[in-house]
Amino acid sequence: MELTNENVLGKLIAQFGEENIVDAYNPDGIMTFTTNRENIIALIQYLYDDKDLQVQFLTTMAGIHFPDHKGRELCMMYQLHSLRHNFRLRIKVFVPAEDPVLPTLTNIYATANWMEREAYDFYGFIFTGHPNLIRILNIEEMEYHPMLKQYPLEDQTREDKIDTYFGR
């Protein structure tokens, strides 16, 4: 089977049902679709195991915060890669900000461990089943998740800055 975005999408929809694979589009040639947290692990496991696809490489995971999307503020993006077929795909899962719980991917990809910790650190995602979900980059005492849009970037202790001319 030639791996085109349509083929793979069709295959996944056939496997997981239309209600679980939504919003599919190709923003930059990489197939992107959205699923939900109930199916994400099974989906990635399926992609991993499938003989035709062999999507066995987790390129990256990134949290995104959309404060304006009510009920689905936080997004987790998984980008996978089939090295065998040089086929990339991107899966998104949206969760509400007050319930940022996702299942962990560490059982399939070892690399997900730190990526999930980073997502927890930055956005406050909770990964159920993660072996060691603690902050990774920031100090453990930090009280907020700095990448959320509502928190400021700047170091509040800086004194020598005059903001007037920066247009920010």
């Binding site: 066995q56 490489f57 987790l58 990809y109 690399t111 730190w114 920031n138 990448m147």
Partner: protein, 416 residues
């Protein structure tokens, strides 16, 4: 191109690993010493911590801690106009800043849909390969330093100075280059720069051959590195390894070949692969990659096409200075671009380049504003360091240090 996972030695390795794990479990109950490697240990080159559980000289367990130079790149990127993010990328993998710069530029160009002229692409290739050389050069010579041979390091460092000379001639800085602009380079290669590149191509092979001669077949060095910090192809892939560290395990995955960017398809080069994924293989793969990079530079240098060094994209690329001083239209564009008010389209883009250390990815979401909505960096070092614990377990303290240097974990990229 298909990637054939060479699984010749994987079984053996797995067996070795299982046996070792058994041994480790036997010894778990004995008295262990805790050794704090880092955050400022001389071997860490940058700062990250490893708390080792040692049985004499043998490492039983390691707990890594990172974040000691967390600088919040991704957060800053959400507050800065597109063109101001280039200096940030400089400071990620500072051993090979041009690759980061240009990787980022290409990502934004992909978002904006700008086509870059061939000449600019070739210049980028030359610069990126020079950066790769300087990156591998540091990594491999530091491996020498950590194994006690300091001198080779200084020999190749002199060559790095010459690479810096070229950078200086191209962009005006040595390390944090801020090289290139969205839409091309900021200036054409000057005759002096071309001359320097030519000189470099002539001189460098000798120096590199000499460096190789000092270490590659030295038994002490071989003993120190063979079988040290080995990882199987399977585990490496599971850990998300890319770049030289993955190729050392035998997987010939290279972004330059798999998803060619910036005209890499025009060049003849090979992807060196190792077998066992140990420190020695990583060393050899990097050595060989330097030779391949030289080959690419030579081709690009010889076939440097004529043409413009930047894209014709007045909305995104700053107009020439002379026009700004005289023409009103150019001045308006100039103001718009500098204020960051370019009309970036909404969208999301992932672009990856083969960085000094592996697949350096940029995941960019734009909501049409003057800054990226979200810019996520796929940082290879972040991934390598995670596997470090697994790689050093059962080895000795000295092994751990060599493994670390051969992984070339760079703190700036690790912590972002």
């Amino acid at each position: 191109m298909a990637t054939d996972n060479k699984t010749a030695d994987t079984d053996q390795l797995q067996e070795f690993r299982d046996n070792r794990d058994l041994k480790l479990q036997d010894k778990k109950n004995e008295n262990l010493t805790t050794l704090n490697l880092g955050p400022t240990h001389p071997a860490t080159h940058g700062i990250f911590q490893n708390i080792l559980q040692m049985d004499g000289e043998v490492i039983m367990d390691a707990v890594p801690t990172i974040g000691y130079i967390h600088r919040a790149f991704e957060k800053i990127a959400e507050r800065r106009p597109f063109y101001q993010i280039t200096p940030l990328t400089d400071r990620m993998n500072y051993c090979s800043s041009p690759i980061n710069n240009m990787g980022y530029h290409m990502t934004v160009e992909k978002l904006l849909g700008i086509e870059i002229p061939k000449r600019a692409q070739y210049i980028r290739v030359i610069m990126m390969e020079l950066a790769r050389i300087s990156d591998h050069l540091i990594c491999n010579s530091i491996l020498g330093v950590d194994s006690g041979a300091f001198t080779g390091f200084l020999y190749v460092m002199q060559e790095r100075e010459h690479i810096y000379d070229i950078y200086e001639e191209v962009c005006g800085a040595r390390l944090t280059t801020n090289m290139g602009r969205i839409g091309g380079m900021e200036r054409d290669l000057s005759p002096k720069a071309l001359h320097l590149i030519g000189e470099f191509l002539k001189r460098f092979p000798k120096v590199w051959a000499e460096f190789e001669k000092m270490l590659t077949r030295n038994r002490i060095f071989i003993d120190r590195t063979v079988g040290v910090g080995a990882i199987s192809a399977e585990r490496a892939l599971n850990y998300g390894f890319t770049g030289p560290n993955l190729r050392a395990t035998g997987v010939d995955y290279d972004v330059r070949v798999m998803n060619p960017y910036s005209s890499y398809q025009d060049f003849e080069f090979e992807i060196p692969v190792g077998e066992k994924g140990d420190t020695y293989d990583r060393f050899l793969v990097r050595n060989e990659e330097v030779w391949q990079s030289l080959k690419i530079i030579e081709q690009a240098y010889k076939n440097l096409p004529e043409g413009s060094y930047h894209a014709d994209a007045p909305h995104y690329y700053l107009p020439p200075k002379q026009e700004v001083y005289t023409s009103m239209e150019a001045l308006i564009y100039h103001f718009k671009i500098v204020m960051g008010e370019i009309d970036a389209p909404k969208g999301e883009v992932y672009h990856s380049v083969e960085g000094g250390n592996g697949e350096l990815g940029f995941y960019l979401i734009s909501d049409g504003g003057r800054t990226p909505y979200r810019l996520h960096f796929r940082r290879p070092c972040f991934i390598y360091y995670q596997a470090y614990t697994e790689m050093i377990k059962g080895g000795q303290l000295a092994d751990a240090i060599l493994t670390l240097s051969s992984l070339n974990v760079i703190a700036g990229e690790l912590d972002a």
